[in-house]
Symmetry: C5
Subunit: 321 residues, 5 copies
């Protein structure tokens, strides 16, 4: 579905144009066209392929989606695939945006994601000085926006991890902790697949062999790369922490087993000791003076309770109970 189709000249918005007039605008000097599509739609895509002379392999990738992030050169044009991450009921939804950026056009196709790029367009139109760079600047602004949206999501993962850590050391719900750590690791995998290949791709946009479309934007793409580097580092750091947390949780389970065992043994002793005493007074010796005492029974009960009390206090002191 086509969202909008705007022509720009010398960094300024000319007009919203009809897709059929694209070829006329892109033939004008200093002019470029920025088309935004939502979800893949073969007919429109085919129309765009003809207007912009897109490479069939890139179009095929855009058609089927589910690519890994990448930025590929096809002659003078670039084809970029970015992952769009959005929170979805505690997990992450992975959308995609495909960007075709040629010398005089930008085509974006967003799919499986709710939030659009209207804010990017607004930002670009507010900065005509930079928009003069043409499609290279639009590409930068799109990547920058996508990457900036990763930060709060990754922060949420860190917060979640911290709350699990607290529970691990408080010794509560080890089963849930393991399960959530596992879930967190899966989530982290989604970030890694979004960030690491993109970092690699963006690094090629500002070096000595940067594509022509990106000319003059060196500092800007390096800045995006730096943000991706920072995300990458955070991801690796969380990943490492999760592995340690799983190991630590295992230690905690071992420790709890130890403590459970001690507590059980303590309760067992509290039953076994009076059982022994009762057994002793259940012996059938003829000559057991206590048996004939008037308060022998009470005495035996007192011994049982007394022994248990002493035992209980010592066990409590030893922290077994």
């Amino acid at each position: 579905m086509l969202i909008n189709c705007v022509a720009y000249q010398d960094g300024k918005r000319l007009a919203e144009i009809d897709p059929k007039d694209i070829h006329r605008y892109i033939a004008m000097p200093g002019c470029f066209v920025w088309v935004a599509m939502l979800e893949r739609d073969p007919a429109t895509l085919e129309q765009m392929r003809e207007e912009f002379d897109l490479h069939p392999l890139a179009v095929e990738d855009a058609q089927y989606g589910h690519q890994r992030p990448k930025i590929e050169e096809y002659g003078e044009s670039l084809f970029a695939v970015l992952h769009l991450l959005e929170p979805d009921n505690g997990s992450l939804r992975v959308g995609e945006v495909n960007v075709f950026a040629g010398p005089n056009y930008v085509l974006t196709i967003r799919s499986h994601a709710e939030k659009g790029f209207q804010d990017v367009r607004t930002r670009c139109e507010r900065e005509p000085e930079l928009l003069k760079f043409g499609s290279g600047y639009v590409l930068y602004a799109l990547i920058d926006a996508v990457v900036d949206r990763y930060f709060p999501l990754l922060d949420a993962v860190e917060t979640e991890l911290e709350s699990i850590e607290d529970r691990i050391f408080a010794g509560t719900s080890p089963r849930e902790n393991v399960e959530e750590l596992y879930g967190l690791k899966q989530k982290l995998g989604i970030f890694r697949h979004a960030v690491a290949p993109l970092l690699e791709a963006v690094n090629n946009l500002y070096g000595a062999r940067a594509p022509r479309v990106c000319t003059g934007m060196k500092e800007y793409f390096r800045d995006v790369a730096d943000h991706l580097q920072r995300l990458n580092q955070t991801i690796e750091s969380i990943r490492d922490t999760i592995a340690t947390a799983i190991a630590v949780n295992l230690s905690m389970i071992g420790l709890q087993e130890n403590e459970t065992m001690k507590r059980l043994a303590a309760y067992g002793a509290l039953i076994a000791v009076p059982t022994l005493i009762a057994g002793i007074y259940g012996m059938n010796f003829h000559h057991m003076p206590e048996l004939n005492w008037e308060y022998g029974y009470l005495l035996s009960a007192a011994i049982m309770i007394g022994a248990d009390l002493v035992l209980f206090l010592r066990l409590r002191k030893a922290k077994w109970l």
Copy 2:
């Protein structure tokens, strides 16, 4: 065994020819011959070696098979080894296809695999524009087909892993889980051995130093490399998940041990407490008023049952039972 032997000119199929006429066709300008063999067969292989002047080391590799995936240059020709993976009774069968691709010929030898490459030939013949590139395009189409067949198989591994995950967190059959995770890891090793060396090899087909046979196919081989990269990433990600799942399963076993211990202790207490009471009333004191009560026995039974009931409810509340 020879399956078929077809001559092509300028991207169009000329005719199915007799192997003995090969040298005549490959001498014609713009003409190349595509021979398909099934299973190794020394006699035919020798015949092909002579027709196409294949390098003895490559022929030796093709003869004995069980190579790791690779693409090697021998002068103007390429020798490629690809792994063919096919599901086989829950495990994977590893077949092999050897491809000799010279300036005017392609020879494929498939072995230990059921599915052939008729669909690749059909696809190539449907695209004469591309088939004009000659043997380079056929090589691309073959690798592309082989790689595309890996995807559904790897998806099946992911699905299997997810079902094990569910069972791990449901706490059922830990022994089977471990065994299946181990099996999955072995299976993943097969994918790794098929994908990683091939990726490395394909990466050399589209750079600045690409072999002459592959001229003009840059975008196509890069596309295959991208697919292999994606497979590689999925493999690494599954591999990582399996390692975590094994660690998590160990935690789960520890937790179950903990719980088993608690449950056992609970049952033990339910027996020990009445045993103690019975022991008390088995004492031989002369002065034990309860012994003479008419309903003393019933009372003791009531105490036993009552104590157990209280205990049972508390244990249940504490989730030990």
Copy 3:
């Protein structure tokens, strides 16, 4: 907040100048201005941006902070971000210093850190021979000071680790040990994020492609890189030790479980044996000679105590008690 603003010429301090006169001084040959700011302050930063013609992206980074350490070239100037670590109540506070170093100016912005760089300025002014190198030398002196401050903090981490090791092998407080090892690992992560990217950045300051600002300072920047390398190595080594310590602690927990189990069983036996003896003399056989003996009861008590004594000594010898 502006701390001070000093002009230097040919390695010697000229005067503390008014920020408004900066442009006059930086126009003088062999002259450079060194401005120090504390905490970000948009107004002053904007003023500096104009005086020194700073790149908007670098200014934006300085504005928002929380960057990873890096040194970036913007034309003839460098923009450096360094982490400042300071102990804070047992944990580490992460501050930041941003340095803009152009051919004739140095601007530092320190934030979230108490200790300033007055000592660096003093050192620079004591070495006019080196200060002649201009802003490159100041940059070196700043990085060197920041890096030197990491050493005692990392030493403290090593000491902490050693005390945990002692406790692990003494078998005391396994729960605290795990928790502290985990905390130590987190702390180490902070060092890693401060050191590793900085090392990478500094390595680019003394090679063949060093920025012009750093000309002639090769040995000095290599020396800083060497210090960072040393820190890096220590961090990796501590990291490895922590992982081993966690694994060892798990073994220790298993061993303690083993020992607890043995001790519990020993105590259990000390109760079970007399219970059995009491049970035997509680049997109702008519012909049990011991029952009629005058000292039968005492004898039975003696047997119980004797059996327990023998058992106790054997268990002690076997180190179960």
Copy 4:
């Protein structure tokens, strides 16, 4: 000890010659001498050093042995060290062969290994076309033979690993499994030390900077490198499997502990329940009707047996017994 000393010309065997005549033959055009020694022997080695003008450092290495595999250039000559692996009573014996290969000579010194290289000499003499390449071809043939001998030994390791896997999942002899996995890992280390450095060394023999002795043998050395790559991959894969197997075995030990505990508790219950019943009928209440019943005793026995039977069946059903 000198085994044999043969001169070759234009790929054909001239004659077995006296070591003293070596200098005469190596001066003839198209002629080279191939000397084979067994075990180091200072006198002969010194003689060879003089005849062939070997570099003292290489001679020293050959003298003392226990080198890691390597191929070093000394001027126009190559000095190669290869590990020879031979099965020895269930473990591996590590022998060594040192090869000096100059433009017109090859000297091999084999030590600590039983199997010689007569088959390599035979193969070379059967292929005069290739032997024309001179010492480079002999070097290739030697490395190829050594590498080919690794394959069956590594296969044996894989087979051994598979039999351990079977036992792990059958739950038998966990102690032996751990011990054998450990032994296997040690064995694998021997392979790694033989293969990995050799692969690195051979990779330098066929690139753009290949030594002159190896000229024209590119495809052959690449083929050896490919075999080494394959061995390397198998080693890494076994190594990974062993690590997983050790982790899995730990899980299995945990599971067995769980099961042992359940079984013990089950047996305990089968004793505890009749003990309770006996305790009840050992109470001394005056009014316990069952005590006076004629078949009370039998009844109580029946209850005990009955209770145990029910318990037994339920425990068996729950797979605790």
Copy 5:
């Protein structure tokens, strides 16, 4: 402290000279001075700095010590830092030697190490042909000597590891095993820090960009690098083995727990069974014929002993006892 100061010319020892005459000798063609110092001593160091015109940063490093191994170029000179390892009461003492090697001088400063380099000097003077290379050869001889001293120490670590392995599989003293493995790992860290950076540094001494001082010594430095490579490989291999040994030890602890549990349960059963029998004959049924038998008591004792005997034999057969 200055140990000795000797001048050499054309590979031959001229004379032991006074430090004050150094400048005269180093001005003579083909002449170089080799000064050896023990422990740092600011005054002498300052004197040397002036005589040889050493770089202040290198002098500073030498002054404070505790550097990581490195070899740095300062103009025409090299500054090398090597770790000296010496056994010290079961642990390792880490000393240091700093070497300044210029075109016509060598200065060594040894600290924290007992063994000196007199043997290196002797060796050098015995080989005037090589000593003609000047300070480059002395540098080589020093590094070679330091590296050769690492070998027996690392062998000792291997031996220690083997003895721990034996104890792990014999199942003795798991607590000591863990502690010693941990200690061994720490020791290994010391080796790593001595070897790995040095290897990296030495690798730069024989390539295409080797420093001028090392001209003509290519094979010699490559030989040292090869020794370091071998050490490195052994270190990595021991490191890997220690990690496996820790994991295996954990398995062994789990297995012992299993066995302890079984043995405890076996002993428990040997007490519980006669307790049950005693309980049965302690029941108060009026009609229990055995109670009236003359040998009832003996019989019951016989049953108890008999039951325990049977049980004992079965448990022993099942290897629980």
